[in-house]
Amino acid sequence: MSSSNWTTDFLSLLSRDITVTRIDTSPVIVWQIESHAWQRFAELAMLQNLRWAAGWAEQAQNRFLINSCFEKQGEYVLLRASIDDANPELPSQATVYPAANRSERHTQDMFGIRFIGHPDNRRWTRHQAWTENSYPLRKDFPVQGTPVGITAPDMHYPFIKSHGAGVYEIPVGPVHAGIIEPGHFRFQAVGELILNLEERLGYVHKGMEKIAEGRTPESLARLAGRVSGDTTVGHCWAACMAMEQASGVVIPPRAALIRGILAERERIANHMGDIGAICNDVAFVFAQMQFTRLRELWLRTNATVFGHRLLMDRIVPGGVACDLSEASCSLIKKDIVELRKELAEVILALDLNSSLEDRLYTAGFLSEDTAAAYGTLGYVGRASGQDKDVRRDTPYPPYDQIKVKVALETQGDIASRFWVRYKEIMAALHMIEDFIDQLVAGDIRSEWQMPASGSEGLGIVEGWRGEIVCYVRFDADDKIARFYPRDPSQLNWPALEKLVLNNIVPDFPVCNKSLNGSYSGNDL
């Protein structure tokens, strides 16, 4: 809960080293510091156990604003530094927070900002679609870019090498063997044992941040709903929350409850898909068939009640696009009773299955320390003892009206990630029932008010993968100036490189599925 106020103590502690200017004009708490103190701040923040949550930049006239979002005990602070675009550099925070590593590399590629002392400043998001000295998110970079012919493959990315008797390399992807998203994995192995894994993502970079510029709120909500298709509700909600914060629009209570129902339905659908897929990756097809069946039934109810199987575009700026009738409410409740009964039978059968136990327990181990260091989120973090959940720690409507029980496991293996998902399904079923019971009559959408030029908002919600942070700044005339969505995958992907170590190569698919990062949400 955000009752304990660490910010005051921390500010007084900082005042010995760093001058912090508090900007209270925006609805977001912004602490502005001098750029040279960027790293020093991170060091002090680390000592006080602040969590690094997100980082991004934006261009304003001839300056760059660099942002880092920190969290402690449910309270978020946005740290900001302004640097001259003639010499865009500042000390890196990734030296202190490994979680900031790829984010800073993304900013380096997109804005041409140098993070001094960064432990790994290879390019990340950039492959060969634009040249080394051009930066897509600068204002003078045209949306269309200057593509010349076919984009070359990224042949010369300097992967980490290893040498030695019996060590060999396995390159995998970007086109994988299954129906999944593209990305490249480079393994070094001895026999079957994985010595090292390096991820190379960025293949599905679609320039979302750039094409968001100049959009209307509604159009941005549509785009946000496609940051990662499986998290369409989560991202759309975060973006709308940020826009509503910027414009001062308060959504009606009924709309908040319906958003809650949508988000929990999305969580359940994805967790069911994942549990089935994890079992399938260890060749336990019974579970896959049962869970894909239950998921299909669940999606059909989505289509019947909300008009879309994956719930795309149901959340709009100011509220929701679809209402819930009495009949729909009772259909949803009836479904939940059914699902509980089915899950009880299927889960018991899985729990008592020794071959499944043999494959999932101890495999893909992620220690609590590593999980904390990388700031891992959602079920990945919670399976390794990271007791974080935005719905409980920073409750936003409608979660402020109910008690959110956070599923937690401490073993850190694939089985833990499996069980956290199961517990979250059970908790989410309860929440949907609570929201339906509390459903008040009234509007489902507030009238939109045009925000003042330059106003900003920070939307933070608990998507099914974990905390989503979304930043929005408006230009004049209701147009978007900056959109940055931070999918939980961005922080979870690096954990995969760690949790596969000392597992065998054939167990990589199940390790990967247990984490199930979004490629699209990461690459933007």
Partner: protein
């Protein structure tokens, strides 16, 4: 083990079969699914000696289309019973099922996958992004529609297309092609 067997038996076969009763819920219609399936099968039998191999390629999608393509293999649709298989390599494929706007970073990979697919081959662009660029369009990072990169034989619109729409799209492809 007994629990597993019991659950399998009590669940029964949920695969939507050929029957005259219509389905109450507002999703696909059972008759339609089965009719479609049978037509698909007929075409596959005639043109591909009984089975068709699909290699799915995500060329930049948001992963929404992948979720629905996955659903084709769930027990309700069970598309394999009509002779439609998803394969792991383009070398084994008759059809490339491509989703997403083609991101520029995937352009070469898609071209190489296309080249690796033996002739005769068909390309199906699935989803609005693959059909016309969708929400992402053409930009410094995206080539837009799949047809901007490789020749496309059929298009299945939808954001994302439902499993039923995907089945229909495949059927249309097979009826159109000689």
């Amino acid at each position: 083990m007994l629990r597993i067997l019991k659950k399998i038996l009590t669940t029964g076969v949920v695969t939507e079969r050929f029957s005259l009763r219509s389905h109450a819920a507002g999703h696909g219609n059972v008759d339609e699914l089965e009719q479609l399936g049978i037509q698909v099968k007929r075409h596959i039998d005639k043109k591909f000696s009984g089975s068709i191999a699909i290699r799915q390629v995500d060329a930049g999608s948001c992963n929404g289309c992948e979720l629905e393509i996955h659903a084709l293999n769930n027990p309700f649709y069970d598309i394999e019973r009509f002779g439609v298989h998803f394969v792991a390599s383009p070398r084994h494929a008759d059809v490339l099922l491509v989703t997403g706007p083609v991101s520029r970073h995937m352009q070469t990979a898609l071209l190489r996958t296309y080249e690796a697919t033996p002739n005769p081959k068909w390309v199906v662009a699935a989803g609005d992004c693959a059909a016309c660029g969708g929400e992402f369009g053409v930009s410094y990072a995206s080539c837009g529609a799949v047809s901007n990169v490789i020749p496309v034989d059929a298009v299945i619109p939808g954001c994302p297309p439902t499993p039923l729409a995907l089945m229909k799209g495949l059927l249309e492809l097979m009826s159109a092609k000689k």
